[in-house]
């Protein structure tokens, strides 16, 4: 009994000490924590040039005169963060997000974000090497990294598909339809993205950040589905072309507004 009491007293004292020291740097104590938390939905608008991307019909024509129908456009993101005014980053939730731009609702909501002014949004497309090679069975049923939920885990080959885009296309001047399937995977193809735009989050006004995704910006002289319709980040030539594709992602995604 005595021992327990002693321990309690020591802890109390220690706690007090820590509290006193800690408070020197702290802002005044938070009175109502719930009041200071905001929510932010990140939503994607799939586009093709100035027009909405059609996911159920052809009619998206790129620089190679290929007519494209996108039926699956899934992205796993990590280290999803807000850029604070002091340029440090605030990770949202556990930092993971999955959206599918071919779905009816390509958006993801984070809650419990501290109120304040922010300078932008940052994330990686893909997961870091550690998460990519860790035991994948630990994630909850609807977590972005769950092995079954979004079908972006490679299975026995291990690792995640960071970015997948699939659909059909008609080569220039042709009416015959072929499939395309681009799977970005493997550690070197992790890419980081930052979108700078000032916004303020407050608890009484959930906000929506709209990121436009212009699929037409993936293409370049070397990148066409006629040239390569399937790329699963396999051979060294695949990896070379896929890293061009990943570079183009920077132009594909633009943060348009937060309101």
């Amino acid at each position: 009994m005595k021992r327990v009491k002693m321990k309690k007293v020591t802890f109390l004292l220690l706690g007090l000490l820590v509290a006193v020291i800690g408070c020197k740097k702290c802002p005044p104590p938070i009175k109502n924590e719930v009041k200071d938390l905001a929510s932010l939905t990140i939503t994607y608008k799939p586009m093709f040039d100035a027009n909405p991307l059609t996911t159920r019909a052809f009619g998206n024509i790129n620089m190679h005169n290929e007519d494209i129908l996108v039926s699956n456009w899934g992205i796993i993101m990590s280290a999803v963060s807000l850029i604070k005014e002091d340029n440090t980053k605030l990770k949202l939730g556990d930092g993971y997000m999955y959206v599918n731009l071919a779905s009816s609702d390509p958006s993801f909501t984070f809650t419990n974000i501290p109120e304040g002014n922010y300078k932008g949004i940052a994330y990686n497309i893909g997961v870091d090497s550690l998460a990519n090679h860790a035991d994948p069975v630990v994630w909850g049923p609807t977590h972005p990294l769950n092995i079954n939920f979004n079908s972006q885990h490679w299975g026995w080959a291990g690792g995640y598909i960071f970015h997948t885009i699939e659909g059909k296309y008609k080569p220039s001047g042709s009416t015959s339809e072929s499939g395309f399937s681009y799977h970005t995977a493997k550690d070197p193809l992790l890419s980081s993205h930052e979108y700078i735009l000032d916004f303020t989050l407050s608890n009484n006004a959930p906000k929506i950040a709209t990121i436009e995704a212009d699929a037409n910006k993936f293409f370049s002289n070397e990148l066409s589905f006629t040239n390569q319709s399937t790329n699963h980040s396999g051979s060294s030539e695949d990896m070379r072309l896929m890293s061009l594709w990943v570079n183009n992602m920077k132009q594909v995604f633009t943060l348009k507004s937060v309101n």
Binding site: R56, A57, S71, N72, G74, N100, A102, S103, P136, V137, V138, W139, G140, P141, T142, N146, I147, N148, F149, N150, S151, Q152, H153, G155, W156, A157, T164, E166, G167, K168, P171, S172, S174, S176, E177, S178, G179, F180, S181, F225, T226, N227, Q228, S229, T230, H232, G234
Partner: protein, 363 residues
């Protein structure tokens, strides 16, 4: 009726006592769901209990659930066939035809899309479909409620499972519980592990084919490219957009619109759920309409007979081209490759699943 129902049941759980006090025994999720399959997507409002599962099992095997008491769920879902049915398409009450092939039932705790067209997302809702369908069990719900309430067996088990009188709401919850416990992950392939220890060289070659991309650009193609839609530990893509519900080139025009009839989108016409390939050698005939009797016919389809004019064919089949911008072509597996693929598919059979006494007829 009451008499037939209160017959001695082989496999009543030992924890059941004659008293009807309310002490359901919770089931620890890890005791049923193996780690390797990932964390299951269990409904939060229907915790699994031994009593709930047993009640669900009684209901699954009980012909009381059909209008003329001739058919149970188990009439079309046979344990020896991994709860599929060895018939092209099913026959329901009064010999009435059902248009589709009966699905195998296992690993549903990892899924949110049920039926060939993915139209149901919750098992507790799904069970009302076959019960009420005029060509399956043909029973209306008030009559079912009445039958359950009059049954001593169900009075007893509803008390144990839910501390309630029999009612159709909790009936569906109990059935959901039983269905969720049907887990299969003990095939030779699973035992072999990632190093494929103990598999023959042909089976290993079949696995390589299964998960290698088709490449028709010079030389013999070395990939059958099955993993896109049947990949992962469940051997089934879960995400509908990523091969979970798609078209595998069976027909140029559709008599059964599949998911298109549910969504109303013409781009979903002729798309169906990609079934799990676990236990596949037990679940024939194959495809939504049971058109293929054997796995050899299925393999021939993918190798030589894909109909690329099928309007909504998956990009992951339509990308099999032999040159830049070319039209899609058959993958043309060799006789040996076909045999290897078949041998591999047969390693996915889980014989403990079909003999597990926890899933068998309790009557």
């Amino acid at each position: 009726m009451a008499l037939s129902l209160s017959q001695c049941r082989k496999s009543e759980p030992i924890y059941s006592s004659s008293s009807v006090s309310f002490k359901p025994t919770p089931i620890v999720s890890t005791s049923i769901f193996p780690r390797a399959l990932g964390i299951p997507d269990l409904p939060k409002d229907n915790p699994l209990t031994e009593e709930g599962v047993y009640l669900g099992r009684l209901l699954f095997y009980d012909k009381l659930l059909s209008a003329n008491m001739t058919i149970s769920c188990a009439s079309c879902h046979l344990q020896k066939n991994a709860f599929a049915e060895p018939k092209k398409t099913s026959t329901g009450i009064f010999g009435l035809p059902v248009k589709r092939n009966a699905s195998a039932l296992f690993n549903m705790a990892y899924s949110r899309k049920f039926f060939w067209d993915g139209r149901q997302s919750r098992l507790a809702n799904l069970v009302f479909e076959p019960i009420q369908a005029h060509n399956e069990m043909g029973l209306n719900l008030p009559e079912l409620d009445d039958r359950l309430k009059k049954s001593e067996l169900y009075q007893n088990w509803f008390k144990k499972a839910f501390n309630a009188d029999p009612n159709i709401g909790q009936m569906s919850m109990a059935m959901e519980q039983f269905l969720l416990t049907l887990v299969s992950s003990n095939s030779r392939f699973d035992k072999a592990g990632p190093s494929l220890t103990g598999l023959s060289s042909s089976e290993k070659a079949g696995f390589t084919l299964f998960q290698t991309l088709t490449n028709l650009q010079g030389g013999q193609n070395q990939g059958a490219d099955c993993f896109h839609c049947h990949g992962g530990i469940l051997f089934q893509a879960q995400n509908p957009l990523a091969g979970g519900i798609t078209n595998n080139g069976l027909d140029a025009s559709f008599t059964d619109l599949g998911a298109g009839a549910i969504t109303g989108n013409s781009t979903d016409n002729g798309t169906f759920k990609s079934p799990s390939l676990r236990n596949i050698s037990l679940t024939g005939p194959y495809m939504h309409d049971g058109r293929f009797q054997s796995l050899n016919e299925v393999i021939d389809h993918y190798s030589d007979n894909i109909d690329f004019s099928s309007p909504n064919i998956s990009p992951n089949l339509a990308n099999h081209v032999s040159g830049p911008g070319g039209p899609p072509e058959q993958m043309r597996l060799t006789v040996t490759q076909k045999q290897d693929l078949l041998n591999f598919l047969q390693t996915l059979t889980d014989s403990t699943f079909i003999s597990n006494p926890k899933y068998s007829n309790p009557f």
